[in-house]
Amino acid sequence: MKKIKNYVYKIQKNDFTNAGKVSSEIKRTLKKIGFNNIVIRKIAVISYESEMNIVIHSEGGLIELGIYEDKITLFIKDNGPGIEDIELAMTEGYSTASSKVRELGFGAGMGLPNIKNCSDKFEITSDTNGTIVRSTIFLE
């Protein structure tokens, strides 16, 4: 089905001042469109975890929110350095976050597993150029 709208949000590396703003913005947009609570909550969690992943672990990146008649897609792309062992990164509780980041309350190792759990469809690819996550939520 044809994409109705695409929103692009850029995210900077290590930008803890603005961290969370993109996910709040996405949430606000979805609320305005009028999606139901379950959809909004799932996307809020996916976008927040992704945003924090980009801020903490990557060289910066972006989130694209795609609105369709029957689904919502999130395309999350960063500029590296990539995930060495994706399977390990997908394990709940596994984290490469530094102790400084953990002190801020992040890096519990729930990011990627959380994103996957909230997605109806989830794909991840990663190499040294960066990581790409494609997450889809189907609308009933």
């Binding site: 305005k32 139901n36 379950i38 909004i40 969690v45 008649e69 959380n114």
Partner: protein, 414 residues
């Protein structure tokens, strides 16, 4: 009824103070006067608080309404005990109410202690919903209904202490006065805020309140002070210390004593926390006490005393009251009341929120708003009568305002 206060138009200067403070952007300045959108108003009372011209007035019942009933019960909000000079005994406050014509005073703190137990049970029974949000502040429940619908299922659906107090006091009075019938009895709640007045006049669970009349504390404060001075005799009445804590921010949290909880007060702070919950950041928290007024219910607009002073007064009572003293025996009846369903409440109608959006139309509308917003100066000056440039853009797309309202664009010659 959707609102328990009104604007005295003659006093309103159209100054934008209330419009800027309103957490749901429910206020616009139209033709130089504030105009409230009742569908968005949560009755938090911020506009009443910030108005420099005292243009907002409470819609409150009057002490004269006592005449309408054969027998009158007063239920003072727990905050009432913080409104008089340090060391004022609770029983003297009760006596003052009797002096004003009430036949019986029932302490809200007793009911708050019972509700504390009910909250504890609910939170430990319902382990899948996290975090659970207290429903004690009606302004916050309405805020969630309007702005944070995805959090509706996190709200703890439990009857408010004032309703439990009304029900138990009524039963007690009927038991002790065989010649009275329910219709003879007037139950009056003394309220610290417009939100609780609305909860009596228009209960969220859509069944009738057990309270018959509700008076703002400011409405009878003068009468109470004068009456208080006339009662010097010593007396005896015990609040529940667990329940009394509910008057101040952090009190419910302390009373419930969960492993992980957050107590937050003041609308701006509450908005931040609700935002965090929606992003899934607080799923590890068991219980959130979110109160609309800074400092908790002692910060309610209809209180007389400064909230920090009232807080100190309440803490003084908490410290000085003998914990071992006997309370009203209703407080011991938790298990019985629970099994009879006293605490059950249906605040949230989950089905009312489930609708299918017209995505295309909504996206087009958002695009239009963005296009207009781009043209606006983004100063959020409020001169147009809307709280922010974005709000004006929305109003224009909704057809309730035009871009000509923007004073800055006009000055720039557009």
């Amino acid at each position: 009824m959707k609102r328990t206060f009104y604007l005295e138009k003659d006093k309103c200067k159209g100054c934008t103070n209330c419009m800027r403070k309103c957490p749901t952007e429910a206020i616009r300045i139209v033709e130089g006067k504030a105009k409230i959108n009742d569908d968005k108003c949560i009755n938090c009372g911020e506009c009443i608080r910030v108005c420099p011209y005292n243009a907002y007035n409470a819609i409150s019942d009057k002490i004269e309404d006592l005449k309408k009933f054969k027998y009158n019960i007063a239920i003072p909000s727990t905050t009432v005990y913080g409104q008089f000079s340090l060391g004022t005994q609770i029983c003297k406050i009760h006596n003052a109410l009797v002096g004003l014509g009430f036949d019986y005073v029932y302490d809200e703190s007793w009911a708050a202690e019972l509700v504390t137990k009910a909250i504890k049970d609910k939170v430990s029974e319902d382990i899948n919903a996290r975090p659970m949000i207290s429903s004690n502040c009606p302004a916050i429940v309405r805020l969630i209904k309007i702005k944070y619908k995805s959090l509706l299922e996190n709200i703890i659906e439990i009857e408010a202490p004032m309703e439990i107090a009304a029900r138990l006091s009524l039963e007690r009075v009927l038991r002790n006065n065989k010649d009275l019938e329910k219709k003879d009895i007037g139950i009056f709640y003394i309220s610290p805020c417009p939100a609780k007045i609305l909860s009596v006049k228009e209960p969220m669970d859509k069944k009738d309140s057990y309270i018959n009349r509700v008076i703002s504390l400011k409405e009878i404060y003068g009468d109470m002070i004068r009456e208080l001075k006339m009662h010097s005799e010593s007396c005896f009445s015990n609040p529940s210390l667990t329940g009394l804590k509910w008057a101040i921010s952090g009190g419910q949290t302390e009373a419930c004593d969960f492993e992980n909880s957050i107590s937050v007060s003041g609308l701006e702070n509450v908005l931040d926390i609700l935002e965090e919950i929606e992003l899934g950041k607080l799923d590890h928290i068991d219980f959130i006490e979110a109160l609309s007024c800074n400092g908790g219910c002692v910060g309610g607009t209809y209180n007389f005393e400064n909230p920090f002073v009232a807080n100190s007064n309440i803490k003084h009572i908490l410290k000085k009251t003998d914990k071992g003293l006997l309370l009203n025996d209703d407080v011991e009846k938790y298990t019985e009341l629970k099994s009879k369903g006293y605490f059950a409440s249906k605040i949230i109608d989950k089905f009312e929120e489930d609708r299918k959006p017209n995505i295309k139309e909504a996206v087009e509308k958002i695009d239009k708003i963005e296009q207009i917003y781009d043209k606006l100066p983004k100063l959020d000056c409020g001169s147009c009568g809307a709280p922010t440039c974005r709000a004006l853009a929305e109003d224009i797309v909704n057809g309730t305002d035009t871009i000509d309202s923007c004073v800055i664009l006009k000055l720039e010659g557009n």
